[in-house]
């Protein structure tokens, strides 16, 4: 099937070394009118430097307030294939594990009812199916749910929780990220499918401070694995590493708290000054291991710059065991949401509310006891203020 529109500007985006979304849309355009008209609409937008999408409105599946993002073209007569171009978010499995059969199943449904275009995965973590019409939504949902799939979150709701692959492939994961993510998803089904918050709320679960899913910068609640106790050291493995790396330069000098020494071929750690950043463990995985008591740090408030500027998460629980049935954790989340619901303005994220009302007010509201470890960034905390003179002293 030939091209329906000339697309000189889009064609520029096919050049170069990197994969091109234009090439992928052109492949889909061999099969669907959605993709053919999408190319025409995009070319016009690039030419005019103007979007031709409208977003929102009443669209979705019965009973759910999320999972479908309504999108329409403002040029439906010119590009009828994209008059409706709704996005369907499908809740991804924890850790993004799929069998090829599962992927074929979803794509079979999507080829039947939609454009065939996907985004694997959206920044929240969902499998994102791009481009279908309003009439097909209930059928897509029925086919997905009959095979055990569910829609993800959207709107002013809990968004689909996501996690790193945790203990499934990483021996240094301090918590079972996949189990916790699944528990959060199941426990808060109502909060995910029926939006009732001031704005969105995201959970991301990382097994350790390496934070492979960047939860500290992207989740309203960041759950990051950590430990108590001393880092385990195998000196014979340290000796092996010394043959292939400069331990002084790559480990000791890069320790953010300067709590490590390497003398006479022996590695020592002052664990009382370690901030458990994971740098040394990640670099010397055979020689070092997290301490024996494993759990997580809970942080709150990060977000990307949408309504106001970006924020990073702030420690609210320095250490929690986080084991099934996670009652203490769910109780804390409930209190946080109540406080946010009570005081939050429309479209105000939890981190912005804390900034507006103050961290002490938040702690009182959710009945958390202030603790010096409730820091916003290493070696800084909200409770003590130092002058240059004090530091010199």
């Amino acid at each position: 099937m030939g091209k329906k529109y000339a697309t000189p500007l889009l064609d520029e985006l096919k050049k170069g070394a990197f994969p091109s979304f234009v090439t992928e849309i052109e492949k889909a355009a061999e099969k669907t009118e959605y993709a053919r008209d999408l190319l025409g609409l995009l070319e016009q937008s690039y030419r005019e430097k103007l979007t031709h999408w409208k977003h929102g409105g009443i669209v979705g599946v019965r009973g759910y307030g999320g999972g479908v993002i309504g999108r329409y073209s403002d040029l439906p007569d010119k590009y009828p294939g994209v008059a409706h171009f709704h996005t369907v978010r499908v809740n991804q499995p924890s850790g993004f594990y799929y069998t090829t059969a599962a992927l074929r199943e979803v794509m079979g449904i999507w080829d039947k009812y939609g454009s065939g275009l996907t985004n694997m995965h959206g920044s929240t973590g969902d499998m994102v199916l791009l481009g279908t019409n309003t009439e097909s939504l209930e059928a897509i949902f029925a086919e997905l749910s009959s095979r055990g799939w569910d829609l993800g979150g959207s709107g002013s709701a809990m968004r689909t929780p996501s996690c790193c692959l945790g203990k499934s492939r990483c021996e240094w994961a301090c918590i079972d990220t996949m189990a916790l993510t699944n528990e959060i998803t199941q426990h808060f089904q109502d909060e995910m499918h029926r939006p009732a918050f001031p704005y969105k709320f995201k959970f991301k679960v990382a097994g350790c401070a390496v934070d492979c899913i960047a939860s500290i910068a992207r989740a309203d609640m960041s759950i990051i694995g950590t430990w108590k106790g001393d880092i385990g050291i195998k000196q014979d493995e340290v000796a092996n590493y010394s043959k292939t790396m400069d331990i002084q330069k790559e480990i000791i000098d890069m320790c953010p708290t300067g709590c490590m020494t390497y003398t006479g071929g022996k590695l020592s750690i002052d664990n009382s000054n370690c901030n458990r950043c994971m740098h040394c463990i990640a670099q010397m995985t055979k020689a070092l291991s997290p301490g024996p008591e494993r759990g997580a740090t809970i942080l709150l408030g990060s977000k990307a710059p949408i309504v106001t500027g970006a924020l990073m998460s702030w420690v609210i629980v320095p250490f929690i065991k986080l084991e099934p049935p996670y009652e203490e954790f769910f109780e804390l989340v409930g209190k946080i949401w109540e406080w946010w619901d009570e005081h939050g303005k429309n479209r105000e994220r939890i981190g912005e509310l804390i900034e507006r009302m103050g961290f002490p007010t938040f702690l009182k509201g959710v009945e958390l006891t202030p603790h010096p470890a409730m820091i916003k960034s290493p070696r800084r905390d909200p409770f003590f203020f130092w002058d240059e003179e004090d530091i010199q002293r």
């Binding site: 409105g57 009443i58 019965r62 307030g65 999320g66 009732a196 918050f197 704005y199 429309n346």
Partner: protein, 72 residues
């Protein structure tokens, strides 16, 4: 608390607000607790859920999530 009477209150509230002010689910819960002695947020949530499942009301999105009457 009788869920059926809360459902009626919610529908009346949404009908009255149409064309004036969009209500978020949280606004609906607060209003119901305010005007309905004995109603709780959980009652209101359960009632709204039933209305949504029945298609009596629908969610909409315009920079945030709102509750509306379905389009005619």
């Amino acid at each position: 608390m009788d869920i059926e009477s809360i459902k009626k209150e919610i529908v009346a509230l949404i009908e009255e607000s149409m064309g004036k002010k969009k209500l978020k689910p949280g606004d609906v819960f607060k209003k119901i607790v305010e005007i309905h002695p004995g109603a709780t947020k959980d009652n209101a949530k359960a009632a709204l859920r039933e209305l949504m499942d029945a298609g009596t009301l629908v969610y909409s999105y315009k920079g945030g999530s709102y509750v509306e009457m379905p389009p005619k």
